[in-house]
Every structure is written in structure tokens, then in C-alpha cells.
Amino acid sequence: MATLGALIAGGYGVPLVMLMGLVLPGATIAGLAWRVARVAFLLSLPISISVGLVSVFTRAGETVLFVIGPFDATREGTDFAAQVIVRLFVMAAALTLFGLTTPPRSLIADLERRGVSPRLAFVLGSVVGAIPALVERSRDVQAAQRSRGLDTEGSLGRRLGGVLPLVGPVLIGSLHEVEARTLALEARAFGRPGTRHLLWAPPDSGLERAARWLLLAGLVILAVATR
């Protein structure tokens, strides 16, 4: 809901409401607020940098803030970049919270129960499962870097600075892991067409069903209201 809400709505208002009204309370209740913020930052950083550079320096605008060589940084471009980055961060935070609180096996089993193909269910489950794996890998990489002298503790600035050297190894490591998982699944006939008899299915209470419909209705209202 928060991911789609941030995607649908422009500006700062709706994405920030999604963040403060849905994602942050959820993450706080789950005791994952700092972890969600950290992973969302990691996930959104690479694309935020490219969006920021392109928008700030190439988007047309009347108010020039500063000039670097042939490039003008405009207020309009900066504002646009900030809006996109806020939306990206909210979407990443919502997905991260979903990933950290949803066991991939439950998602995959539930999707398959509803008729989704095992392959598609696996792809979606892998996306969800990738987030806790990302957290774990970032811990390992950080420990390795710390053992070689990288200072990652202290002030917020220093801690955020400590996140930057993680981005490359963590993301590249994730790609390698996807390759290994694909191979592991293919070695176990995962792509076989036809019926699979699942060993279990996650429970789905009336309250959960009602919450889903409520969120869906909220999303439709938001989409109509922000058109």
C-alpha cells in the first residue's frame, strides 16, 4: 500500500504521510525502525544519486542555484530530484519492512495457493527474501571492513559514511547469490511444469482479509484523489 501510494502520488505530502503513518509505526512496532531506514537507504542510494545528478543539472528551470562548468543547477531541478528521492526512499522503506516481516516461504506458498505460477511466486518471494539477506550480507561486509580499520561507529554522520563502502560489495554479492539460488533451484527441478503438491499453506484469518481489502480501497481512493 505504502509502496504503491508513494508511486502513484507525486509531491512530498502523500509519500511522507505513507512513511510516517504506515511504514514508521509498523517498523517501530516490529522493532525494526533503524534496520528499515538503513536498508532503505542502501537500496535507494544508487538510483537516488543518478536521479539527483540528472535532475539537478539537466532539468530546465528559471532559478539557477549554482553553476558547474557547462551545467546549471536549477531550483526546479533540485525540487524535482528531492521529490523523486523521497518517493524512492518511501517505496524502498515500505518494501524493506514487508521483506523483513514476511517469511518468503509464506509468500510463495500463499501465491501458489492462489494460482500464481511457481516461477513467478519464486521471483516475488526472492525479492522479499533478498532484503533480510541484504541485511545479513551488509553485516558481514561491514564486519570484514571494520576488521580492516573502517570506522563505522560514533556520530550519525560517521555511521552513514560507513554505509557507503557497503553498497558495492553488498549489491554485487546479491547478484551472485541470485545466480547461486537459481542454480540450486534448477538442480531440484524447480522449473518443472505441472501440479506441485505443497506441504503446507500459511493461515489467512478474516481479520487479515479485511485489512487487505481496506488497504486496497484506500489505494483506489488515493489514486482517484491524486489524479
Binding site: 518468503p104 539460488r181 542454480l183 540450486a184 534448477e186 538442480a187 522449473g191 518443472r192 506441504l199
Partner: protein
């Protein structure tokens, strides 16, 4: 139940040099062939090629042919390959699917994918867990195991599929003596049922315990045939 490589040469994608060169190898019904050689001699590559994952999943260029029971792996799709030839990877952690919550589900994943009925899947899974004595791990999370436990889970996950041909890449590298004994027993039992097995292994003692016919590979070529 035979697994045969005929004049097999293989090159990984993006590499000019061939990792395997003109390899001829036959593993007959119920036979265990032990593949030895130094690091980077081509053992793991040969395992991937013999299982069909290279080039089917990994890509690369294959010359010659790999035959299972006389049928070329080239004509089989990846899920058909998996049903015919099982493989245990050198790194047991990379054998884990990452989509299961317990060891039981992890071991059961193969039989579930084969479309077996629930009762059959459960029976095979229990038997596979018992074969390597890890029943007590059944409810544990697969990603929270020691290296040795993960290796046993990886082997059990293949045993549960009951492949007619099995390729194992250093299957006991992370195991203690008891774990090795259990794996040897399980593999011997499989072989006595007719499964053709190729075991890449540095440890000659293990291969001797398996009564394996030993083949040595060097620089991608079979240096010392059986």
C-alpha cells in the same frame, strides 16, 4: 543407468580457454567413479557439465556429448535434467534454495517440484533425513546451520529426489568423521540400488571407502583414466 561423457570440451562464457578438453568418461550402473585432481584441474567444471547445468543454466560452449542412459542431455530441459541427474555442489550453502523455512521443507523441495504426492514427498524426506542422521535438524532454519550440517542437508536434498545418476563435488569437505561415515553409507546404499555416481574428491581415503574407480584430471583433461 549410465552416465557418459564423450569427447567433451567446455568453455565458460566470457573465457577463451577451455576448462575441459576432450574428456571421455563412463559411469556404469551402480558404479562410483572418483574424480581426483589438483585445485582448478577441472573437477567442479566436469561435475557441472556431467549434471547438465553447464551449459544449460550457466551458459558457455560445449563440444562432444553427455549421455544419460544413452540419451543426450542436450535434448533435455533443465527440470528434466534435474530429475535424471542430481548434483551436490562444492559449496553446500549454495545448494540451499533460500525459499524454505525449515530443513524438512528444504529437503522436501525436490520431491515437491517433481510433482510427487504429499505422502510420497514426506516419506522420501524422512528417509533422506534419516540416511544422513539429521532428523533432529528437521525443524531448524536452513540458513542457521553449521557448515557440516548444511552439507548433510544438501546431500539429503539430493537423496530425497532419488536420482538415477548423482554427481557430488567434494561432498564431505566440511564433515566430521561421523558425518563422513554416514555419507559413505548413504552413497553405497544408493549405488547398490543401481545409481551411477561421479564423486569429485581430494580425499583418496573416502574414495577407497566408497570402492570408487579413480580417475585423475589435470588441466581439464583426463590424465589418468581408471
Amino acid at each position: 543407468m549410465t552416465l557418459e561423457l564423450r569427447g567433451v570440451s567446455y568453455r565458460y562464457p566470457g573465457y577463451r580457454r577451455r576448462a575441459l578438453e576432450s574428456v571421455d568418461l563412463r559411469v556404469g550402473e551402480g558404479a562410483i567413479v572418483g574424480l581426483t585432481g589438483r585445485n582448478e584441474a577441472g573437477k567442479s567444471t566436469l561435475c557441472l557439465v556431467a549434471s547438465g547445468l553447464a551449459p544449460a543454466s550457466i551458459g558457455g560452449e560445449l563440444a562432444g556429448d553427455v549421455l544419460v542412459d544413452g540419451e543426450s542431455l542436450r535434448v533435455l530441459r533443465t527440470h528434466e535434467l534435474a530429475a535424471r541427474v542430481g548434483i551436490v555442489f562444492v559449496n553446500p550453502a549454495s545448494q540451499l534454495s533460500g525459499i524454505t523455512g525449515t530443513v524438512f521443507e528444504e529437503v522436501a523441495l525436490g520431491p515437491v517440484n517433481l510433482g510427487l504426492a504429499v505422502a510420497e514427498t514426506v516419506a522420501r524426506t524422512r528417509a533422506a533425513l534419516a540416511a544422513v542422521a539429521i532428523e533432529d535438524l528437521a525443524e531448524r532454519a536452513p540458513n542457521r546451520l553449521s557448515g557440516g550440517q548444511t552439507q548433510l542437508v544438501a546431500i539429503a536434498s539430493m537423496l530425497a529426489m532419488r536420482p538415477r545418476h548423482l554427481v557430488l563435488d567434494e561432498p564431505v569437505a566440511e564433515l566430521d568423521l561421523e558425518g563422513r561415515r554416514l555419507v559413505v553409507e548413504a552413497l553405497r546404499a544408493l549405488a547398490s540400488g543401481g545409481t551411477a555416481m561421479l564423486v569429485a574428491e581430494h580425499d583418496r581415503e573416502l574414495l577407497a571407502a566408497l570402492d570408487a574407480r579413480i580417475v585423475t584430471i589435470a588441466d581439464g583433461r583426463i590424465a589418468v583414466p581408471a
